[in-house]
Each structure stands twice: as structure tokens, then as C-alpha cells.
Symmetry: C2
Subunit: 204 residues, 2 copies
């Protein structure tokens, strides 16, 4: 049946149109200014139409989050390619933190905002972050196989490295490092220094 195939294809294209518009608006105008109405305006449809393709805003955000994660994975695949597991781990660390600081609104969607996780909760599992997490855990696995890390449990290693990276990014993008009273430039340097120092301490 060719017609229902086309219908299905058009439906997927419409979903694409919506999430592409949403993603662009997040990056260009910020998360806060991106409302259902604004997205609808941008793609020249009525607000109601969006609800024919996504059950609610949470579900739309879940789809955009997925998109953001695939962008992060691309970044990892471009910037963390060393054949040495340890160097690759270092590359991931810097890549992660830079991604967060350079794309604060995508980072919000991926790791800070509640909304998309409501959909994950309903679905029963959250798969959007799987590939990026695997990129990290695989590298950690490689490091530990060769005895390059001072951890005994790979899950503790993953939790530590991720939490350190996320802590640095999220406190920075949410302005909490203001308490340290450093100039912007100094603060950036300090963050990089902290990553370097952390990597040094976990190295076997």
C-alpha cells in the first residue's frame, strides 16, 4: 500500500520539521523563549498541529533531547579519537565540559531540565543518553583493562568522572561560581585546571 507508506513518511517529516525548528530555537533564542506557539509560528502551522505529532511538550522535549545527545556523540566521535584509552578519556572529559559551556541550552535539555525525564519516566526507561554514556564507559573499560585507572569499580569510575564534569559545567552555566569572585577568564582557566588536576589524581 503506497499511500499509507507516504502518509507515514510525511508524518515523520513533520516530526522532523518540528524538532529541527525547536532545536534551532533553543540554540538561537534560548530555551526559555521557545514556546509551543513560537515553534508553531516558525514552521507556519497552528499551535494545535504540534499536538497531533507530540502528545505534550514533555514528549517534544524528549525528542529534541535525543537530537542534542546525538550532537554530543558526534562531538565525542570528532574530538575523542585517540587510540590510547587514557588520552581518549582525557579528550572525552574536555570535550564534555566544552560542549556544555558552548551549548548551554542543549546542555540544559540533556542534563538539567526536568521536563524530558517525565516522558522517560512514563516510557519506563531513558535511552537518549545511552550512546554517549557508552562512549564513556567503554573508554573507562579500556583504561581499567590496562590498569590505567585508580578505580576498582568501573561504575564508581563512571559516576565520578561524569559527576565532576557535570558539576563543573552546571555550576558554571548557572552562575554559582560567582561565589568565588573570579573574573570570567580566570574562572575558565580554573575550571580547566581542575579538570587537569582531577585527571591526574585518578590516573594509576
Amino acid at each position: 500500500m503506497g499511500i499509507s507508506d507516504r502518509k507515514e513518511r510525511e508524518k515523520q517529516e513533520m516530526k522532523r520539521l518540528i524538532i529541527d525548528a525547536a532545536l534551532r530555537m533553543f540554540v538561537e533564542d534560548g530555551y526559555e523563549k521557545t514556546s509551543i506557539r513560537n515553534i508553531a509560528d516558525k514552521i507556519e502551522y497552528s499551535p494545535g498541529t504540534i499536538y497531533l505529532y507530540y502528545k505534550d511538550k514533555d514528549e517534544l522535549l524528549y525528542a529534541v533531547q535525543k537530537e542534542a545527545f546525538s550532537k554530543m556523540l558526534e562531538t565525542f566521535q570528532a574530538e575523542a579519537t585517540s587510540r590510547s584509552p587514557w588520552k581518549r578519556l582525557e579528550q572525552i572529559a574536555y570535550s564534555y565540559v566544552n560542549f556544555g559551556i558552548n551549548h548551554p541550552d542543549l546542555y540544559d535539555l540533556m542534563f538539567i531540565i526536568r521536563a524530558p525525564m517525565n516522558t522517560a519516566e512514563k516510557k519506563g526507561d531513558w535511552e537518549n543518553g545511552d550512546d554517549c554514556f557508552k562512549y564513556l564507559t567503554d573508554t573507562i573499560g579500556d583504561c581499567m583493562e590496562k590498569g590505567l585507572l585508580r578505580y576498582t569499580d568501573p561504575r564508581v569510575a563512571a559516576l565520578s568522572i561524569w559527576s565532576m564534569g557535570h558539576g563543573l559545567v552546571s555550576l558554571q552555566v548557572r552562575c554559582r561560581f560567582k561565589v568565588m569572585q573570579l573574573a570570567d577568564e580566570q574562572m575558565s582557566q580554573m575550571i580547566n585546571l581542575t579538570i587537569r588536576e582531577f585527571l591526574r589524581t585518578i590516573k594509576a
Copy 2:
């Protein structure tokens, strides 16, 4: 002048009434459900009245944030009292993470939500977190004086410890550890294990 004194006192009492109501609603009903109208309802005033005491919602949240930080400081002063600098640092670490996980909505206001920082931005500085941060940095200073930490720069030490703690709490309260596919109980254990392991690695 007795009357203007009383007026001033009444004004402060009204501000108290508002932030106390707001703080209670954050804890009891959650941040999301706490609107200006709901706060006004709770204290039995009209919504407009709140704007006679706080310029906008950001300013009100700034005041509530201050309150939350003083609650955290009280927790530190109750739970991190060891005379040994190293043990005190350990106590602060666990105290911080437990506070965040037990009071997620206050933690939001203190370290995650943007709104209160808009007021800090306008004021030019953010003082709400000063006392808690000082509690940490003083203890770090004590540790380093006695050569108990593997850090050379106390600012890097503070940044590292805080970021690790914040990373653990915020990824947990925002459900991102779902990617690890562990049961709730296991996840909590893993977080505690990670703190222990981190403290072990930074100890001289």
C-alpha cells in the same frame, strides 16, 4: 520617631511572612506549584501586595534562597563539627549531598534554578552562598595547612570537592543516573561509595 519605626518593623514582618510562606510551599508542594498567586492565597493577601515588598519574583526567590542557604549552614554546623580538619571535610561532603537529596526543592533554588541569580546579577554580587562556601574553604584551608590534601591550590580543591558533590546531587535529583539502570537503593549506595572513593583519592 516611633511610628516610622513601627512601619519599618511591620514591613520587615510582612517580608518575613512572605518568604516563610514561600519556603514552606517549596518544601511541601514543590517549586513548580509555588506561584505568586498561591503564595498570596496562603498568606491571605492579594497577588499585587507581594509586589509592594518584592520588585519581582526573582527578588523574592533571591530572599528565599538566602533562607535556604542559612538552613544549609545550620546543617553544616550541626553535622560537620569534628575537630579534625580532615574528618570535618568528610562530614561536610556527606552533609552537603544528603542535604541536597533530602531537600531537592531547596537545592534547586540554591544551585540549579536561574531566577534568583538574575537578582544577584543586578546587585553586582551574590552573597547568599558566602557563609556555606566559607565553611568549606575554611575547612579546606585547615586541611592544607596540615598537609592533609593532595592539592597545591586551595581554589582548585574547593572547586573539585564542590563540583563532585554538586554533580552527584544534581544528576541524581534530575533523574539522569537512570542511564546506569540501577535500582534506587543500589544507586544511593553507589553515590555514597563514590563520595568515599573521591575523599580517599584526594587525601594526602
